[in-house]
């Protein structure tokens, strides 16, 4: 693996987020759900980011929020890949009418505003961890399929594919053994970028009120709640906001460094 500053920074940021998610109980100084009388207190030695309107430690809530965000992020990316990759592979390899129709549909879908789409659907099905992952995955799969299809088109014309065809390989076999392995690089990059986008969008949805219901710490929701108290303690909003930014940036950097 070539050393690129982009990749290193990306991994560092993602490592931060992952450790928060996995080791939340260890890292966070306080119980994120425990309210206290000391509400809206400013940053202090005991509460590095201060406390929110229910007296809960903001830093601990930010650390615990990583878990929800990463779960949704990975879940959505998985869904997007699971649907998008096969569609892209098949459409790209098959070509012809099947491909043309697929391209038309995907292009149309991709030009719709993703956030609005996710917003409407989530509003209807209700925001839960699983639902959010599914909805965001559903919104993201078309652009994944488009990318994979592009790769397939590039690979399809290579001689080793022709050779495989001449040797009597069935389309399914060729796709599985020749085409798919060569799209790995793009797929990996796209996965990381999808995680980034999913966390970005789910944070926006939470900000708009469609996130995981309280009291679970949820970055977007925290930003929204903290907005009212911006003048008193900006960290209520900016803390979780920065967490979102760092995590999104980290995954994006990794993804773009693979290309």
């Amino acid at each position: 693996m070539v050393v690129k500053p982009r990749r290193i920074i990306g991994f560092a940021l993602v490592a931060c987020a992952l450790s928060c998610a996995l080791l939340a109980n260890v890292i966070a100084p306080h119980d994120p759900l425990r309210s206290s009388v000391a509400f809206l207190s400013p940053p202090s030695a005991m509460h590095w980011f201060g406390t929110d309107e229910l007296g809960r430690d903001v830093l601990s809530r930010v650390v615990h929020g990583a878990r929800t965000s990463l779960l949704i992020g990975f879940g959505a990316a998985l869904v997007a890949m699971t649907i998008g990759a096969p569609v892209g592979l098949i459409a790209g390899y098959a070509g012809g009418k099947l491909d043309t129709i697929a391209v038309m549909l995907v292009d149309l879908f991709v030009s719709l505003p993703g956030l609005v789409l996710a917003l409407v659907i989530t509003a209807m099905v209700g925001p839960s961890l699983v639902n959010l992952a599914l909805v965001l995955g559903f919104v993201m799969w078309p652009s994944v399929s488009r990318l994979i299809r592009g790769q397939v088109l590039a690979i399809r014309e290579h001689t080793f594919v022709e050779a495989a065809r001449a040797a009597g390989g069935t389309p399914a076999w060729i796709i599985a053994h020749h085409i798919w392995p060569n799209t790995m690089r793009v797929t990996a990059a796209q996965f990381s970028v999808s995680v980034s986008l999913a966390i970005f969008t789910s944070a926006s949805l939470s900000f708009l009120g469609l996130g995981i219901p309280p009291p679970t710490p949820d970055w977007g929701g925290m930003v929204r709640a903290g907005y009212d108290f911006l003048a008193i303690n900006p960290l209520l909003s900016l803390g979780p906001g920065a967490a979102v930014t760092i995590t999104v940036l980290g995954f994006y950097l990794i993804g773009s460094s693979i290309e």
Binding site: L115, V116, V120, L208, L230, P234, G241, L249, Y252
Partner: protein, 312 residues
Amino acid sequence: MLTIVIRRVLLAIPTMIALTALLFFSLTALLGSPAAIMLGQDASTEAVAAINARYGFDRPLYVQYFAWITSAIHGDLGRSHVTQQSVVSAILPAIAVSLELAVLAMMLAAVTAVLSNTLPTGRRIVGPFVVSANLIAITVPNFMLGISLIFIFSVGLGWLPSTGWAPWSEGAFVHLKHLILPVLTLSAYYFGLFSIIYRAEYRDVEKRLFIQAARAKGISRSRVAFRHALPNAILPVITLIGLSMGQLAGGAVVTETVFSMPGIGRLLVASIASHDFPVMLAIAMLIVMGVVVMNLLADIAYTIINPQIRID
């Protein structure tokens, strides 16, 4: 060229019909009974029947669809369930707000992206900064950027207001002052996007032979950059602007919420929260139509600007 344009327009019409129909049916199908949505799950059957009769939800779906389309063409989009006002009267001013925000943000993003990646001296010295700025621009969530800007410029320095909308009646200066922060916030992402695409394209164009041939004529570096390279590199950005405007057809939901702007995005969120089906439906349909139209315009723009397609 005219034939191409006409063909695209003609193709757009069935696309629009198909998409709006699809939207209509899926919304109503997913929602189950719109009446139940509007009244709550445990509404009495009489109340549900009343709603159904009033809004015509008991008719077959395709009848409802055609009825909606025909009324829409006549400028009637129904009445809001919550406010009882005509949907059109609620939507039109909201569209104006969102449109102004979107257009200003796009223009700012496009001009900054193109200029910062074209100016000859700028590119060598400022280059790494621009690349980093691009990365940050496309990953920072709108709400984070917006709130940060409010914190710095409104709460902290007190230079700018924290809301994004003041009607024109309060004076152009006041109106524009309120728009500064939201426009900056919204344009950030698009600046990053346009910059990345344009920069890559510009790099490719710079390597092409006609650039060297132009310099061989003795033309200054900046003239080569702006009159020779830019017109070639900007083509994908034009299309991208069109597509991005389509993406903003639903309004800039997050930005409008952060800055409390009475735009279409915020109206949509509100109508979802208040289960106001007629408004939701109308806005969703408008979004779909807006996307199709903007895609069409982007297509046409590309055809017109690129002489290789425009002529024969």
